[in-house]
């Protein structure tokens, strides 16, 4: 597979590993946050960790769309799915995420709610067309990657005059989240979670371009390397971060030049701007309320807005108090710090959102790195 296998070649991995070993300063730690779950996934799935120098520490960020959705929003979706006459559809990973009282969309479906998995917003449109008697709600989640497809669907629904299609919009914005992390008290005040550099988003950046990150590099004096999701991309980007750190630079560099340009995808950005507008504030799991960090539908699309069509009241979210997801999502803890990890909480019985998606840090630790998790915990305790 062209552009896939090329970036998974073990020979290059060995070369990059050797280079890193050569270049790291043995007297310091390199604490690098991979913002994206895609990076987390690649690191664990391909065993990248085994190839990194021991003083390069990867810190997992909040870049997993299903992980950061607050329970209140998920509870609203579950309640909507349970309504008579409603068919709720969403992407696969979302189905298993636990809401309050161990509910999930999958459980709601087992109990009779009409919940469907779709692979594309076009499937959601088709579902609405095929089921004129039902109210089809697309439960839209995700960052700047999944937002343009939702915008397309809304424009199609408008053009077709679909009366039974709405979107429950939960699209969120990456730059807002990164700013929030960098401004977080843990980051600002506590040495423990000091971050030395960022792996910047791959596919989000395809849409928004590399330019939005300039601000961070300048404002927070942190190096940023926009990194592809293949394991060689990740390793090369880590090497680029090591070099910036060693050289005291704090720039935005782009490793993923084959797909990311400074300006991004203009057509997609325009489509998003046409359909969505910023919310004043939106709650993120782990980050709390983050200003201007999410989209809602513009008034022109009010008829397609599930929040306006249905009376959706956010209930009192019942977070599992012992779940460390909030801390993990802002890089202030690692999965093995959580007392529930691997015991009560497993991918089979997830108690927090980080244990659900393959991009969630807890799931990645459990599925691909459980053995290493124990020493990692000790490391963390040191």
């Amino acid at each position: 597979m062209k552009y896939v296998d090329d970036f998974r070649a073990p020979r290059m991995a060995r070369a990059l590993a050797a280079r890193m070993r050569d270049e790291v300063n043995p007297d310091r730690d390199y604490r690098l946050m991979e913002f994206c779950g895609g990076h987390t996934h690649a690191i664990f799935r391909y065993g990248v960790k085994d190839l990194l120098p021991s003083n390069v520490r990867m810190i997992h960020g909040p870049g997993c769309p299903v992980c950061v959705l607050p329970i209140t929003r998920l509870d609203m979706a579950i309640a909507l799915a349970r309504r008579e006459g409603v068919t709720l559809c969403t992407y696969g990973d979302m189905l298993r995420v636990p809401g309050s009282r161990k509910q999930s969309l999958l459980k709601a479906r087992a109990e009779g709610a009409d919940v469907r998995m779709v692979g594309s917003t076009m499937d959601a449109i088709k579902l609405a067309e095929d089921n004129p008697d039902r109210q089809v709600v697309f439960f839209a989640i995700g960052f700047e990657t999944t937002t343009p497809p939702t915008a397309v669907a809304l424009k199609v629904a408008e053009a077709k005059g679909l009366r039974n299609f709405t979107v429950f919009c939960n699209h969120v914005l990456t730059p807002a989240a990164i700013t929030n992390i960098l401004e977080a008290p843990e980051i600002r005040d506590m040495d423990a979670v000091e971050i030395d550099g960022f792996l910047g988003p791959a596919h989000v950046s395809v849409v928004i371009g590399s330019q939005p990150y300039d601000y961070f590099a300048e404002e927070f004096r942190k190096p940023v390397v926009i990194a592809g999701f293949e394991p060689l991309d990740v390793m090369q980007s880590i090497l680029m971060l090591i070099r910036q750190i060693n050289e005291g630079r704090a720039e935005v560099e782009n490793q993923y030049t084959r797909a990311v340009t400074p300006a991004g995808n203009a057509a997609a950005k325009a489509m998003v701007a046409e359909v969505f507008e910023l919310r004043r504030s939106f709650e993120w799991r782990g980050l709390g309320h983050v200003p201007y960090s999410a989209f809602r539908l513009r008034d022109r699309f009010a008829d397609f807005d599930a929040e306006r069509r249905f009376d959706m009241q956010p209930g009192r979210a019942m977070e599992n108090k012992a779940c460390d997801c909030p801390k993990i999502l802002r890089g202030a803890a690692i999965p093995t710090d959580c007392k529930l990890f691997g015991k009560q909480c497993t991918p089979q019985t997830p108690l927090g959102s980080c244990m659900v998606s393959d991009e969630g840090a807890c799931a990645a630790y459990f599925k691909y790195g459980r053995r290493r998790a124990a020493p990692a915990r000790m490391e963390a305790a040191e």
Binding site: P10, F44, Y46, G47, K49, D358
Partner: protein, 341 residues
């Protein structure tokens, strides 16, 4: 007496009600296709002579959707799946029973095709379908047709295979490419929305299994990696035997289109179902013999040694990644859903 047409009729409730419609269906469809001296359609049980010894018995329900997919259908699957479970026990499968739970409205033409396919698969595997049962459920209470087959066979003298038998040092063999069945079925399922030229590997493995046992009589155990794929089978073995298993990603035979489809869907081929492959755990001394025997068999030409058994108090399955790292290969959690993020 007029009969429902097998060309354009559909299954109705009366086909399962115990009256003439049912008797007709049994005679004109099932008995006609499976017919042998044991299956007359007149008795509620088959009587067959069985030599003294150990008998292997296995049962499986088949619920695949769609009913027809590239390389097979629920009928051939139901025959081969159970033949394979019997063969994995070190036995020579001799007979099957089958039970049909049919949803009202199933086109009789579809049912005919399925039954013909079962008959063909049974013939190919050298087993007889000796008795059966038909039930019809109301529309909306089934999914076309579910088939449960039960198979039995005589266990080879001196052979005793079990998931508990794996020992450190043993080699792990797979008989061919992984994930073909699952990808073929998903590709023909509405909503998955991709196409490949991959066809299901659905096949009867009794011949291949016999060849392995002939060549490597100390074989510890065999398993067909169906639901949950190779990952599920290896984890089951590790747990039952109290061992660890380590495989090498590079050694795994996987077709490019299977890899491509998994890449698109965000799935891992290790968890994708197979219906014509076997995993064998063989002592190192006989591993090469087993491998040669597999490769000499038409169903084993892509066979490979993919890993080995080790000691591990955690009973983990781990994989040397092609990239050069190591990772766990855990049980599948829940269903494998296409990954979007």
């Amino acid at each position: 007496m007029k009969h429902a047409s097998f060309e354009n009729g559909v299954v109705e409730m009366s086909h399962g009600a115990g009256g003439r419609d049912m008797a007709d269906l049994i005679q004109r469809l099932f008995v006609a296709a499976f017919g042998n001296d044991l299956l007359t359609g007149e008795e509620d049980q088959a009587i067959l002579s069985f030599p003294a010894g150990r008998m292997a018995v296995s049962t499986d329900g088949f619920v695949v959707s769609p009913l027809f997919f590239p390389g097979g259908d629920i009928g051939s699957l139901a025959v081969n799946g159970t033949v394979n479970d019997v063969a994995m026990g070190g036995a020579d499968p001799v007979a099957l029973t089958c039970s049909f739970i049919i949803e009202e409205g199933l086109p009789l033409a579809d049912l005919s095709r399925i039954v013909a396919s079962m008959a063909g698969a049974a013939r190919a595997a050298g087993v007889r379908i000796v008795t059966g049962d038909t039930k019809v459920v109301e529309r909306g209470k089934g999914d076309g047709v579910f088939i449960t087959t039960t198979g039995f066979g005589q266990v080879r003298e001196g052979v005793s295979l079990s998931a508990r038998n794996a020992q450190p040092g043993d080699k792990v063999l797979v008989s061919g490419t992984l994930g073909d069945h699952g990808v073929a079925v998903m590709g023909s399922r509405e909503g998955f929305d991709f196409q490949t030229d991959i066809v299901s590997d659905c096949a009867a493995l009794n011949g291949l299994a016999a060849a392995v046992l002939d060549a490597a009589p100390s074989t510890r155990l065999m398993r067909d990696p169906t639901r949950g794929g190779l990952a599920a089978v290896l984890n089951e073995i590790a747990e039952a035997s109290g061992v660890g298993i380590s495989i090498a990603e590079e050694a795994l035979p996987i077709r490019p289109a299977v890899a491509g489809a998994c890449e698109i869907l965000g799935l891992d081929p290790l968890y994708v179902a197979n219906e014509g492959k076997l995993v064998a755990i063989v002592p190192a001394a006989e591993a090469e013999a087993a491998l040669s025997a597999m490769r000499a068999h038409p169903l084993g030409i892509d066979a490979a040694i993919v890993g080995e058994v080790g000691e591990d108090p955690d009973h983990f399955v781990e994989m040397e990644t092609a990239f050069g790292g190591r990772r766990m290969v855990d049980w599948i959690a829940g269903e494998q859903l296409p990954r979007i993020c």
